[in-house]
């Protein structure tokens, strides 16, 4: 893989990461915010796989595999929290979730 090609992949990964950040910051629907987190994790995976290809080492693949596992666990727990919190209130809006305020 050429040098320019690698930086293309890294730049694409950065763009996707910041799109995920935008999803978390700008949206108020908790489901879309969780999807933004998934976008960020996938962007990091893309960078890991691209570097792995450039260096010819497969450790990056293992790391990306672990990230996928953590993303699955995070999605399951996050969605469970959403279901529990919004089982009680009618609106699905993160700004309304104030029951954990100290």
């Amino acid at each position: 893989m050429a040098v320019g090609e690698l930086s293309n992949y890294v730049t694409l990964s950065a763009v996707l990461f910041f799109l995920g950040v935008a999803g978390v910051i700008l949206r108020r629907n908790p489901l879309v915010m969780l999807m933004g987190v998934e976008l960020m994790l996938n962007a990091s995976n893309l960078a890991l796989v691209a570097f792995s290809r450039a260096w010819g080492s497969m450790v990056g693949h293992i790391f990306a595999f672990l990230v996928i596992t953590v993303a699955a666990a995070e999605a399951a727990i996050g969605l469970a929290i959403i279901v529990v919190v919004f089982h009680r209130s009618a609106r699905v809006d993160v700004d309304d979730v104030t029951i954990l305020k100290g």
Partner: protein, 201 residues
């Protein structure tokens, strides 16, 4: 050339995820994003990751999202969402920020390119052969020998996730305090029904 098609598809689907009006549309866009990313993984000769991407993300996580959307919107007016923060932020400033960050990353990647050695994969074996870079056999051999500890930590993480979900969503009666307002309304309605019955008879 293939990279640019895939890059445009990835960015477009990610934008669709963030800007979609309804969460269901976001999930559909996310599905397109994940499948395209699997294609990128194949083009980077990460065969196992491409399959895992389809199986875990498109097969498991997105179905979970769809189930939760179905659960939350099954009520009468349970899917009301207030206005997003999008109009409050000056969009040009945000756009400029993203462009600046991309420029920094791009230039940094080019600057460090001379320092870091970029090695093309040494094995020139054909794609699909067991010993090639990125093959499932190599991946599995690494996962169960030199990278065994991270693999076992994965088991712990998944167990924590399972226990956490069961504790969170398992038994509502014991975990969440009773909704006094609702209970009082139900009792009031019952009392009124009894009174009305008394009047009728």
């Amino acid at each position: 050339m293939l990279f640019w098609f895939l890059a445009v598809a990835l960015i477009a689907s990610a934008v669709a995820v963030v800007t979609a009006a309804k969460p269901v549309y976001s999930v559909i866009a996310l599905l397109a994003h994940f499948v395209t990313l699997a294609v990128v993984y194949v083009s980077l000769s990460a065969e196992f990751l491409a399959v895992t991407q389809i199986l875990v993300y498109s097969g498991a996580i997105l179905i979970l999202f769809l189930f939760v959307i179905a659960l939350l919107s099954s009520g009468v007016d349970s899917f009301e969402v207030g206005p997003d923060r999008l109009p409050k932020l000056p969009m040009p400033a945000l756009f400029a920020l993203v462009i600046t960050l991309v420029a920094i990353v791009f230039s940094a990647a080019h600057a460090f390119a001379h320092v870091l050695p970029v090695i093309t994969p040494t094995s020139q074996l054909a794609v699909g052969s067991a010993a090639a870079f990125g093959s499932v056999a190599t991946f599995g051999a690494m996962l169960f020998t030199s990278q065994l500890l991270p693999f076992e930590i994965t088991a712990l993480i998944l167990m924590v996730a399972v226990i956490g979900v069961v504790v969170l969503a398992g038994d509502h009666a014991t975990l969440t305090p009773p909704d006094h307002e609702r209970l009082r309304a139900i009792r009031r309605r019952e009392r009124e029904a009894i009174l009305r019955e008394g009047e009728a008879s």
